[in-house]
Symmetry: C2
Subunit: 276 residues, 2 copies
Amino acid sequence: MAASPAAEGTVAKALEVLDIVAARGRPTRFSDLLAHSPFPKATLYRLLQTLVSQGMLSFDQHTACYTLGIRLVRLAHVAWQQSSLAPIARPHLDRLSAEVGETVHLAQLDHAQVIYVDKRNARNPVPMYSQAGKVGPAYCTGVGKAMLAHLPEAQLPAVLAQQSWHRFTDKTLTTPETLMAELARIRARGFAYDDEEHEPGIICVALPVLTTRGAVLGAVSVTSTTARTDLASLGALAPLVRDIVQTIAQETETWRFPEESAPQSGRGPEPCLVSR
Amino acid sequence: MAASPAAEGTVAKALEVLDIVAARGRPTRFSDLLAHSPFPKATLYRLLQTLVSQGMLSFDQHTACYTLGIRLVRLAHVAWQQSSLAPIARPHLDRLSAEVGETVHLAQLDHAQVIYVDKRNARNPVPMYSQAGKVGPAYCTGVGKAMLAHLPEAQLPAVLAQQSWHRFTDKTLTTPETLMAELARIRARGFAYDDEEHEPGIICVALPVLTTRGAVLGAVSVTSTTARTDLASLGALAPLVRDIVQTIAQETETWRFPEESAPQSGRGPEPCLVSR
DNA sequence: AAATCAGTTTCAAATAATGGAAACGCAAGG
DNA sequence: CCTTGCGTTTCCATTATTTGAAACTGATTT
């Protein structure tokens, strides 16, 4: 189960249950969840009931299985829109994608992992691991290393300590020391490569999206395969990607303004009605 | 804000806070949230702290603003995959989209609203979060009416009572009575039209995805414009869409009940979603 | 019929949440 | 320099919820 953040409140436990359901990855029965949770039967049972009644889980009468609920999807859509990064980056990813014709990723750091927040497929799509919403390792992906390289020094040790250091390929860096050296190279160079460190044959260039203060917001990468290109050619795209990430960063900061709470008319189906 | 589900547990309150943040739609300050929540200052503060520490919200030190957190996006991705409908329907939507070349939607019912779960544009296969989770009215969209028409009679009044009945166009049905009549026509005809009831110039055909027991799982629609086609031509696509929804329904049941038989006795059709 | 299993409910004790009030920090104004 | 006001955070006695062992239900198996 990896990161169990030592439940302290009821809410934390409820969320942990959500994670457990999510981790099963399929409709799951009570006993299965019980076996994979640290909670006693009655506690788990009540948590599940609460979550179901709240719409965060749904429960199928026939199969007696729990799945994640639709309320999550609704919340997540807003989350995606509300995150300052993703919606702002969108048109720029489109532009980048059109220009280079390769797979393009936008990622953010979540705890010590990379989460792919948006993605454009290559004109000739290549099967690969990443997918919007999916999480991946930070220490052996282009976007991950680009972000780690610009993390405040104080945070780095904690984050490195949470990496799995699994050797995906024989080029994977599997120790904090070698990674630290790589991060220094990345800072010097201004961008990161992924040289088949996560999947064989998959390479990429990645640049971080940084605020003017230097805080890491996310990272953008262009990914391809060794069959189609090589690191040097990908590196040649770095200036283009730099333009993109700088534009994104700039627009993000412009957007930041919080907003006074104008007396909005409470109800009303008015505003954001779906395009269809 | 209409649906405030009268929090009874702590978890419910925490989730209500999430909804409030989501409803603001932008990074929001404490005082703003306080003004829009039913909780006392200290309570709200602690709920926010919990949610932030759990990653469901994120808090920006500089602007002192709360936004929905990245953990939500991660969960929602799994939710989408795990929902029996969306991943199963995906290839069939692709097929339908390729065949008709028009906008295709997959929707489900969430409370009394329609939630768009997947979508195909004529051209590019848009990344998921750009549209998943968008909600729309049920009483004046093709997918919405198709699903309402097949809801258990006992639930219909409650759902209709939650509609806004806003007159989007002069063809919008704005009373329960006229809608009930329309739903009867839809049941008789076997599929629903949207005749510019939500947006002028936008028309569609929609069919519900039903289990063998008749429970509503979702709906699929093909949408176009009056400039390009008319209702009659869209209606001609109904048999094709019927094939699609039936295949989806069938695969859903196969997937969920690998070797279950004896499908009788229980009470009436048990809809999988919908109001508490 | 008895045993087993999966899921549900009970209840007194333990624990966590509550919220009024007050303190804190900070910027603008006297 | 000392107010004043606003937004944020902490305190703590009170209150209500959560807890979990164990008992119960009702299927299915032996």
